[in-house]
Amino acid sequence: MISSTPLTAGPALFSVDGLVGIIFLVMIAVTVIGGYIACNSQRLVRAVAGLIVCFVGVAGLYYFLNSPFVAMMQVLIYVGAVAVTISFAIMLAAPADQEKMSQSSILAGPLGFCTAALLAGGFSVLAIKTQWPVMDKINDGSVKKIGIQLLTNYSMVFELISIVLLIAILGALVIARVRREN
């Protein structure tokens, strides 16, 4: 007598839970494809475009992790600011013939792939094999709680990160300034 309940009881494909799962799979695909383009394309402009796609996918992952605020910040800071900065740097500093391959070792690609695959596979096996302890939640991690924590417990770090950003902006201006020949 065959049991009527299937072994893997998941939600139906066109229920609400099923559609949420499909959207999550799409976000995974967007992240991985964007990352592949970012690390593997020949032209730097395409790499930046892949980076933007990858960060949009990561923002979707953050949304699935109950953190819409961090997802919004991911889009604002990475897609909005960092990608634009990198694009400007490419326009200012990338020579026209930069896609010519310099004479690096033929082994760089395969060895780099082996290193990356070993690292990623090792981390994945570690993540699956380990029993991570689960603790009870003491709050819900809402945006209001983030604001309260940022202005009470973490206010010192909040101020320090502002100073770090200010010094980074000033340092970037000083370094990139064209010096006068005297």
Partner: protein, 108 residues
């Protein structure tokens, strides 16, 4: 466990973070321009952030701390990108190249 309920699973996010980290390492090893290396470094930071946020969602008792840490990672990454790209522009003005093989005078 169905494939449609993967988003309720810690291992999914940890494996995704590992994949992002691996792609960042691959990019840093194989890229031949400074800007390409910076892009790969951003991938590395994204993988680390995904790990933090996954543990924050599934395991941490206080789910605020991981989100604040991810925000600080973003701020540090923005500062790093600004400084790194200005260094790249300064190097380009000096050497007319962003190939790491050409800037051998930086060796000690």
């Amino acid at each position: 466990m169905s494939v449609l309920t993967l988003y309720n699973n810690l291992s999914t996010f940890l494996i995704l973070g590992a994949i992002l980290f691996g792609m960042g390492v691959y990019g840093i090893v194989t890229r031949k321009t400074f800007i390409g290396m910076l892009i790969a470094a951003e991938l590395l930071l994204a993988g680390a952030s995904v790990n933090f946020m996954a543990f924050n969602r599934f395991n941490a008792p206080d789910p605020v701390v991981g989100q604040i840490f991810a925000l600080f990672i973003m701020a540090i990454a923005a500062a790093e990108a600004a400084i790194g790209l200005s260094i790249v522009i300064a190097v380009y003005y000096h050497y007319k190249s962003i190939d790491p093989e050409d800037t051998v005078q930086l060796k000690g």
